[in-house]
């Protein structure tokens, strides 16, 4: 069973929940899909055993042979190649590495080299969490390319917990789309509710069942609860607003470290989800 933990709004507690779930069941695969700002490793403290560089191929242009590269510049959908006379200006940060310029350019005059866009790291946290994360290199925009590598490494025979990136765009969809169930974490404020409604839209389109965890319960207002009640959305858990929890979090300690009573609650949530998923 694959459970993803997502949230439209950032900083509502995705990683807090995902880490608590993993620590509660102890044996699972954990994947941090928030490759732009990965944080789960700070809480799970895995022993990293493998680091794989993720690269894409980018072109370089042999301009000394008097050939024109206008065809490359005309073809490039990312405006990464500007050809003036026989010279080329190449904008590396715009290039997606599609290889189109090799196909359309003068034969033999466009070559390629590997450019690093990030890393995949694999590790282990006792007693039984297989840890996997992606880390996008600052300056690169290839978020979904790193996530694509993570997707290939999903262990479908294991329980899998996926920590998603914030937002409701393609990188969030990449993270949730393999899951059997998605936990949406929100906070009871107008910002939290606004972004929750958009996330629910995404999950409905993808036909992924979901439930809600309300974090920082006690702040804001009760609009999130009203919305969930009138739309028949299950609230799986409320985590109180507690500055002591925030202090634990700030040091890289999990909810389970704060109070081991949380462990049972998360085990119950997983049981509940498992029942719902198996019915479907």
């Amino acid at each position: 069973m694959i459970i993803s933990v997502a949230s439209g709004k950032g900083g509502t507690g995705k990683t807090t929940v995902a880490v608590a779930l993993a620590k509660s069941i102890s044996y699972c695969q954990f994947i941090d899909y928030d490759v732009e700002a990965p944080n789960a490793d700070l809480f799970l403290k895995p022993d990293i055993k493998h680091i794989n560089n993720i690269t894409i191929k980018q072109p370089y242009f042999l301009t000394g042979l008097g050939k024109s590269f206008k065809a490359c510049s005309d073809f490039c959908h990312y405006n990464a190649v500007a050809a003036i006379d026989n010279k080329v200006i190449f904008f590396s940060e715009l290039c997606h590495g599609c290889g189109g310029c090799i196909l359309v350019g003068p034969e033999g005059s466009v070559r390629e080299r590997d450019i690093k866009i990030g890393e995949i790291r694999k590790g282990f946290c006792p007693p039984g969490i297989n840890f996997l994360m992606g880390d996008l290199q600052p300056g690169s925009m290839r978020t979904t390319a790193i996530q694509n590598e993570l997707e290939k490494n999903i262990d479908h025979d294991n329980h899998v917990i996926i920590d998603c990136p914030p937002g409701n765009s393609c990188s969030m969809v990449m993270a949730v789309r393999s899951s059997d169930f998605c936990i949406l974490v929100t906070e009871p404020t107008p910002f939290g509710l606004n972004d929750l409604i958009i996330s629910i839209d995404v999950l409905k389109n993808l036909k992924i069942p979901f439930g809600v965890i309300v974090n920082r319960f006690g702040i804001g207002n009760d609009e999130v609860f009203k919305y969930c009640r009138s739309n028949n959305i299950k609230i799986l858990l409320k985590i109180p607003n507690d500055i002591e929890i925030a202090k634990y979090y700030s040091q890289g300690l999990s909810l389970i470290d704060f109070d081991s009573l949380w462990k049972n609650k998360f085990v119950c949530i997983i049981d509940e989800i498992e029942k719902e998923v198996s019915v479907k």
């Binding site: 944080n39 290889g99 996008l136 979904t144 694509n148 107008p190 910002f191 606004n194 839209d201 979090y249």
Partner: protein, 289 residues
């Protein structure tokens, strides 16, 4: 004209709280929300829309003609977006990067790149100033393109209305929409918090601002929840020659005002609001120098 973007790396550190306050405190300003897939600034600015336009996003590959299953597109697609299926090829739209290689190599012209409507953008009036914002369709490509579009409109609006400052609320992360919101701005304000996650993400976004050569300032939000980590952030900033404009205390008044959709600096009893006003005064000396 100056442009300033508020970013953070980590989500939920207080970008919109700061952005809305700066917007309220500034004069001759345009407000812009570049967090297009989880836009929140409008909640505080209560805009009335004057103009709505469709956003046509990146064109995705689609099979529109007769596929002879030669396999060329699958072989040459670098994004693994194309796979073989029963009587046709299958295109994974999430993996498709709109490069056009499949369209180019297809011997029967069966594949076309088709632009799709992926959201809307708006020019609005608010009680404070003009406001440019957008809504990306749920699950759509978080296109830097939409962010760039929004910013272009804001720039035109600023010139046409003789405004001298554009204040941009950015998205979390360090990816394409964040980079698009930073492109060519004068300053960035990085909002961080003294948590290990906040620090880790702050360092990554700071790398991005260095990569694109943009001058940044730092604000530490909820600085008093972990004074040791706050000290570490200040040390990092002084080692890297980044000015910390201010440290905002943990304040329950922030979510309270948020629940009434009020901008925090309007609550004179809020300590956080008071500190944000001081931060603005410091920032102003750079913006109007």
């Amino acid at each position: 004209m100056k442009q300033v973007t508020i970013i953070s790396g980590k989500g939920g550190t207080g970008k919109t709280t700061l952005a809305s306050s700066f917007i309220k405190l500034a004069a001759k300003q345009i407000a812009v929300d570049c967090d297009v897939d989880a836009a929140n600034l409008y909640i505080l600015l209560n805009p009335s829309r004057k103009k709505t336009e469709k956003f046509i996003g990146g064109a995705k590959a689609e099979v529109t003609g007769t596929c002879i299953k030669c396999g060329k597109c699958e072989e040459l697609c670098r994004f693994e977006a194309i796979s073989d299926s029963q009587d046709n090829i299958k295109i994974d739209k999430l993996k498709c990067e709109s490069c056009g290689v499949c369209e180019y190599v297809c011997p029967t012209n069966a594949i076309k790149l088709k632009p799709e409507e992926q959201g809307e953008f708006y020019v609005s009036d608010t009680e404070i100033c003009p406001f440019v914002h957008a809504r990306l369709d749920p699950g759509a490509e978080n296109s830097g393109l939409l962010v760039t579009r929004v910013r272009n409109i804001a720039e035109d609006l600023a010139y046409a209305n003789n405004k001298d400052l554009i204040i941009i609320d950015g998205a979390p992360g360090i990816g394409c929409s964040v980079i698009a919101s930073l492109n060519g701005v004068d300053y960035t304000i990085i909002v961080t918090e003294p948590t290990l996650s906040g620090i880790s993400d702050f360092k990554k976004i700071f790398e991005v601002t260095k990569f694109f050569n943009i001058k940044s300032f730092v604000c530490i939000n909820k600085f008093d929840i972990n004074l040791k980590n706050t000290g570490d952030i200040e040390k990092f900033c002084s080692e890297n020659n980044v000015e910390v404009l201010g440290k905002i205390p943990y304040d329950e008044k922030v979510p309270e005002n948020l629940s009434y959709k009020k901008i925090i600096i309007d609550d004179q009893s809020s300590k956080a609001g008071g500190e944000i006003i001081k931060i603005w005064d410091k920032l102003k000396s750079y913006l109007y120098s």
